[in-house]
Amino acid sequence: MMLLRLITWPYVRRHRLRTLLTTAGIVLGVAVFVGMRTANESVLLAFRQTIDRIAGKAELQVAAGEGGLPEDVLERVQAMPEVRAAVPVIEAAVGTNLASEGNVLVLAVDMTGDRSLRDYDLESGDEAVIDDPLVFLAQPDSLIVTREFAARNGLAIGSTVPMRTMEGEKRFTVRGIMKSGGLTQAFGGNLAVMDVYAAQMVFGRGRTFDRVDLALSEGVGLERGRLAIGARLGPGYQVEPPASRGRQIDSVLRVYSFTADMNSAFALFIGMFIIYNAFSIAVTERRREIGILRALGASRARIRALFLAESGIAGLAGSLAGLALGVLLSKGLALYISGLIAGVYGIAERTTEIATEPWLMAAGLLMGVATSLAAGWIPARNAARVDPIQALQKGRYQTLSAGENRVRRAAALALGGASLALLLFAKGWTVLFYAGYICAALALLLVSPTVSLWLTKALRPPLRRLRPVEGALAADSLIQAPRRTSATVTALMLSLSLVIAMGGVARAVYDSIMGWTRTTLNPDLFVTATQNLTERTFRFPESLGDQLEEVEGVEEIQRVRTHRIVYEGSPIMLVAVEAKSMGDRVRRPPVEGPGDMYERAARGEGVILSDNFARLRGLHAGGSIELDTPSGPRRVAVLGLVVDWTDQTGVVLIDRASYVRWWRDDTVNVFRVYVKNGARPQEVRQRIVERFAGAHRLFVLTNREVAAWIAGLTDQWMSLAYAQIAIAVFVAILGIVNTLTVSIIDRRRELGVLQAVGGTRGQVRRTVWMEALAIGTVGLALGLGVGAVTLNYVLEMSQRDVTGLALPYTFPWGTAALLVPLILASAFVAALWPAESAVRGSLVEALEYE
């Protein structure tokens, strides 16, 4: 403690800015990790809380995916001896035109019996909830809102609320106001209750419910009840506690969470290199102090402990700041993620509360401190090895960089060889594949100092040609201190490799999605009930398709019904479409399967799977899968595999006739419209809008608009990753500043001599600038190379274990080309301050070393 106060604290005070920059690495790393995780958790928490609060006393919920339950299922459930009460539910997130309210979650229930499961007013009698229950049921525009919602919008009994329904915007009448309580907090308080039978009409549900909530009879245990009810209903129905819906959303968000975690890990890893570098600087700067301490009797262990304590404290301070920043960031991120999952998955949710999980905070703190300690370990060891005699001799320049390490090179070679061998010969084995990846990563880290040195040596001649004195000095500085340089270069390399990998993934995703849009999702127009293709709140009646076919210029209509079902415990997307028509229109060869697979699907002989779904489950054309349908389990042949981007969780394409028969659902989400040859899609669109305006809630989108919407969604998906990468790059640039600073300290004598023998300040500046540009160039070269390797592994991992999507390897040349000026400019900017510091140093002091 005494040493910390006497030695460390004055140093920190003298180098406030640098201390700040050093801890910034940890701050940002921890902030990214905690921010993303907290945002994810908050989104999930909001979803789970909404589920819990809406579930009320319901112990189990019966559903049939998103297909809805026929009304007779309710009566069957109500008649079961295990069931005390069962009530129908429809849930829909509906847009309002109320300023800054956004979506409202409409919970549609049968108020005649729903109060046996849900508390609509925790404080007083029923009359406070609904002004007149009979009027509430008699009028389909009846709505109960929460007290908070009413207060925010100045609503009272009898006020009207605009909501977007299947029949266009309608005004609903507030006939009840709920007092504050558990239920009213669902969906962030933006909850409205309406009659379930009115909701069937308003949301186009036909004669189905979304689910049935139930309470078990006295003495019936949860598991016993679940199994008994499931057995009585048969396959095709999910009987689960309400909380299981939360697990399903976890599963849906798995891909997203994986990407976020990977980026956070990268950010922290890069932060580790920055800390390592910063502590190396500190050891260099303070070797005189270390020498004095050693001369006064401080043991090596004590010196090591001092530096480790410093790195621990820096890690702790950085982590605490990172936690605060992360929590601050998480609110905005949570809103962003909410919007993203609503767009990509069609799952509406409203996050109002930030879930600051203690374990997450502890993990963030631990990671920050551990990273800092790990990063500080080598500098601390080096500090302990400082020779007191050498350290106290003026002018004895001590190079901390020990030069190349043969053992390290040999290890890198061995690991590289092993990773190559594993990649070529054991790719099929998951464990070996990941072992190969780890080998490759370690090999690259071990070899980066050597390669960095080679590249710097290779740069010396061109630098000399450019500026004989400054170029040579800059190159020599880097060559003489490979370890100092390599940490920054490695940090830069890692961040750039992440950029390249993500850029490659983004390019591949874009190309694949756009290819799919062109060749498969190729109707001229899309008639939807919502403004996008993923939201499934509203559905059309099948008969609307017949009316659409009568519109002048329409050649063919495909009726599409998408709904999420559960396959072997995981949610997947079922897409029901007229298979024959689809087969006639698709211009892309299948991944697997015969040319007539669509005709065979239309004959009800089987289904077609998306290749990612098949890959993750080891399915192939010619095999079969069992689908649980409301009319019983159906084992169906897998006729073929296709590329389909409808949903990341995987897609089962089924002919509409089979779907309607098995799922007893003839509603439609989207009508795909093909116009006649010679007809102009814009004109046909206008005719559709004019014909159905006011009668139906519908949106007509052109193919180009849908493609743009999908591209926008992809951008949105990638943009968070890009933001994280930007932070990683920023952290790496901080590293350049630090490296240059230490470089200048190391070379004070050299730079002083240069000035003493007539070197100008401009020459000194240019030396530092060239050094920075050299670091940037080497980092770029390594980053692009390592990025090319990382991209291969990321694509393989994604295909193998995350999404199942087979994305083509395409090196993102565009991104790489953009990075070159960006990094060189950043390096130059990073060098400005150290360069000024070099020319403004005292010449006498610098020469005193001689």
Binding site: D110, G113, R115, A138
Partner: protein, 258 residues
């Protein structure tokens, strides 16, 4: 032969009986109930009801309905159609009573052209914001109850038998026990108290008991929800018995055609 008590909507099964010996007393209670049912028996019933709900704060809301019932002896069908206020006009409740099980009930909502089944589990809930429950609209089978004569008591100046009615095992009811006061002079119901889990839940008081076409019936029924401290008063206007009615009127199809 099984004899049943038919109780129109707002009436609960009652029993009367004298005491001692024990078996004879129970039989006497049953005889009272059977006699009461016999005297109230009719091929059909029609009335226009004025329903006034008085909440705990004294706020009164009025509704009017037309009630038609065809049949008796637990095989009856009834349709209750709301007429006022205008927002609820046309909303109807179809009740199909069965001799051996709980009734089936459907509500018809004209604004959405949909019927909804009132589930058995929901029978204990309030009937559209009134103090009656859906169960209170059912007919009951005397065979589903055990009766016991409790005492002779005068209610509102009328001498009555006080009879305890307990649902037998297997009978689904929200009430665990009822006390019924039956007038000795005309076998009409004077008062019913319904208990749930040992506590008084609802009290139904009959007044303006008049003889209409030879049948003694209360013209004003006041149901009090003791726990909520609110009451609903139902006044039976234009009460008539044995009017000709068509069976087709008492079906879901007929409701849909309304």
């Amino acid at each position: 032969m099984t004899r049943r008590i038919r109780v129109l909507s707002v009436m609960l099964p009652l029993a009367l009986g004298l005491v001692q010996p024990r078996a004879a007393a129970a039989q006497s209670a049953r005889e009272v109930m059977e006699e009461s049912q016999k005297r109230g028996q009719a091929a059909s019933q029609h009335y226009e009801g004025l329903l006034q709900v008085v909440d705990a704060r004294g706020k009164i809301s009025d509704k009017r309905w037309i009630f038609d019932r065809l049949g008796s002896h637990g095989r009856s069908r009834a349709v209750l159609t709301f007429m006022e206020p205008p927002e609820v006009r046309g909303v109807a409740l179809l009740v199909v009573n069965h001799p051996d099980r709980a009734s089936d009930q459907w509500m018809w909502t004209p604004a959405i052209q949909r019927e909804r089944r009132i589930a058995l589990q929901d029978r204990s809930t309030r009937f559209f914001g009134t103090d009656f429950s859906f169960e209170d609209l059912e007919e009951r089978d005397t065979e589903q109850y055990d009766f016991r004569a409790i005492a002779d008591e005068a209610i509102d100046g009328a001498a009555c038998w006080k009879i305890e009615a307990k649902p037998r095992t297997g009978k689904s009811s929200q009430y665990t026990l009822s006390y019924v006061w039956v007038r000795k002079d005309n076998y009409a119901f004077q008062l019913v108290e319904n208990y749930a889990r040992g506590a008084l839940a609802r009290r139904l008081r009959y007044s303006r008991i008049e003889n209409v076409q030879g049948i003694w019936a209360g013209r004003v029924l006041e149901m009090t929800d003791v726990r909520r401290n609110s009451r609903t008063v139902l006044t039976l206007d234009k009460l008539q018995y044995n009017l000709p009615m068509k069976e087709e009127r008492f079906t879901l199809q007929a409701l849909r055609r309304q």
